[in-house]
Symmetry: C2
Subunit: 291 residues, 2 copies
């Protein structure tokens, strides 16, 4: 069994980005600038945004945080986004989700300039992704592809099961891995909450990409020998043996599946660290496109 | 076994569209107007375009044909498309594919106004489709969904195999049938030229949607009893017993599979006739959105 070390690989990616920034500085090119839009005071959202800013500092990017009160009106927020769209100093920005219920998320994401949409959630970028046209790929699927490629895992002709059909993980990774690309050409099945007989589907698969957020759901007896598990789930479960009283686990029961898999991403330290790295890679790309 | 009569169902759809047009005329609303852009003198393309214009006449739509010599330059064609985009009398238009090799198809499709893109191939509409947002669905997948719905075939939790990953059929239908929609919630697998063991994949499936264009490829021994076949393939094969010397067949070997299926679309007379009907339905929608 080989553990796919997402933390190590993400550091490699960040170091490469840092080197690109140094190279840009030497050549008097613009320093990439990522901005984040944060509405309200949701704890996890603040933590995510802080991690992104911290990562910007690490690679030498400029960063900005646009923080708004949760009472901001939809049209006011759209107005703020339009200001960021025309701010030439900002290369890419993200709108941290979720937004307050009073604000229509779809309307907001549609306002983000496709040229600065480093999350890849604007319909035009999502459409390009589905059509196989070069664009900003959503960060988590891009991170999964980076892990697969850097570990030289060939998915061509492999049976690949994606569990979950979310717009940010399941849907895009299922499309990408089935495309005629160097990292793709897998035979991909998408399972979801309405799918029957998930155990049988897992047993028939060479590769399982799970993004359902049910702690330790995939057990050793559900997978075949020599399979690969990419675990996108992150759940917090009680753990009296830990100082914090909880531990972070993935969708796979690491102990039982690790006896059968060839490759597995751990949780934490697998897909998670890759997400921010790929967001920064998209921002570098957005900046380079303006050179 | 029940034959899904695409010809009959397409006539129902066309009659409904015709009734909507009459209703619009009575209410002094604009008559829908579909235009087609045809470049060069490719025989099948001319036939397709003529069928579309004929269907427009049948339902009471206005129609226009913009025909250009195959020597037209890409920027000249873009210029012509921009003129159609701002022509308020035209509600929707299609660019008949394929285009001459000298013209970049992607550049042309990107120029079509998303509001008039009744083929649903502009990245923004393709992205909305993939995101589950209401938009113009590509005509063939929309026709398949219409057939499934009008025959009351419930795909929820069913194992559905899509053979082929083209941008116009395989990719969109695989996404749509896996979405959480009234017609969807299937567990969808996409197979393609790099997939291994297609026979096994077929045998495991409740529903097979085939769009590979290999005549009579799917035989009776490749499918399970009680399955449904939606046959999108259209191939011409030699047939000495026919006056023309050829016959039109689908991807499925109708004779052997018909002994095992519950439902099947014939070729011709299955999915084919639905495509134009759905194109007109999109055009009616485009026109209505301007009311």
């Amino acid at each position: 069994m080989k553990i796919i070390d997402g933390k190590k690989i993400s550091i490699e990616v960040l170091d490469e980005i840092k080197a690109s920034v140094s190279h840009r500085v030497e050549n008097n090119l613009k320093i990439p600038h990522l901005a984040a839009v944060l509405v309200g005071d949701d704890g996890p959202s603040q933590t995510y945004v802080n991690s992104k800013i911290k990562a910007c500092n690490r690679v030498g990017f400029q960063s900005s945080l646009f923080k708004f009160d949760k009472s901001i009106l939809e049209n006011e927020l759209i107005n703020e986004i339009q200001k960021i769209n025309i701010n030439n100093n900002i290369d890419g920005f993200i709108v941290q989700l979720p937004l307050p219920n009073e604000i229509n998320q779809e309307n907001i994401l549609n306002e983000v300039s496709p040229y600065k949409d480093v999350d890849g959630f604007h319909p035009i970028n999502y459409g390009k992704m589905a059509l196989g046209i070069d664009t900003f790929l959503p960060a988590t699927p891009a991170g999964i592809i980076e892990l697969i490629q850097r570990c030289n895992i060939d998915l061509k002709s492999k049976k690949c099961l994606v569990i979950g059909r979310s717009q940010i993980v399941g849907r895009p990774i299922s499309i990408l891995l089935s495309q005629n690309k160097i990292f793709g050409n897998a035979t991909v099945t998408v399972a979801h909450s309405k799918s029957d007989n998930l155990k049988q589907l897992c047993l028939e698969s060479d590769v399982i990409i799970s993004a359902i957020g049910i702690p330790e759901f995939i057990k050793g007896d559900m997978i075949k020998l020599g399979s690969t598990i990419i675990d996108v789930g992150i759940s917090r479960v009680d753990d009296n043996s830990s100082e914090k009283g909880y531990k972070i686990v993935g969708d796979a029961d690491f102990k039982s599946v690790s006896e059968k898999v060839d490759y597995i991403t751990p949780v934490p330290g697998g897909v998670g660290p890759m997400t921010i790295a790929m967001l920064l890679k998209n921002t570098l790309k957005a900046c380079s496109l303006n050179d």
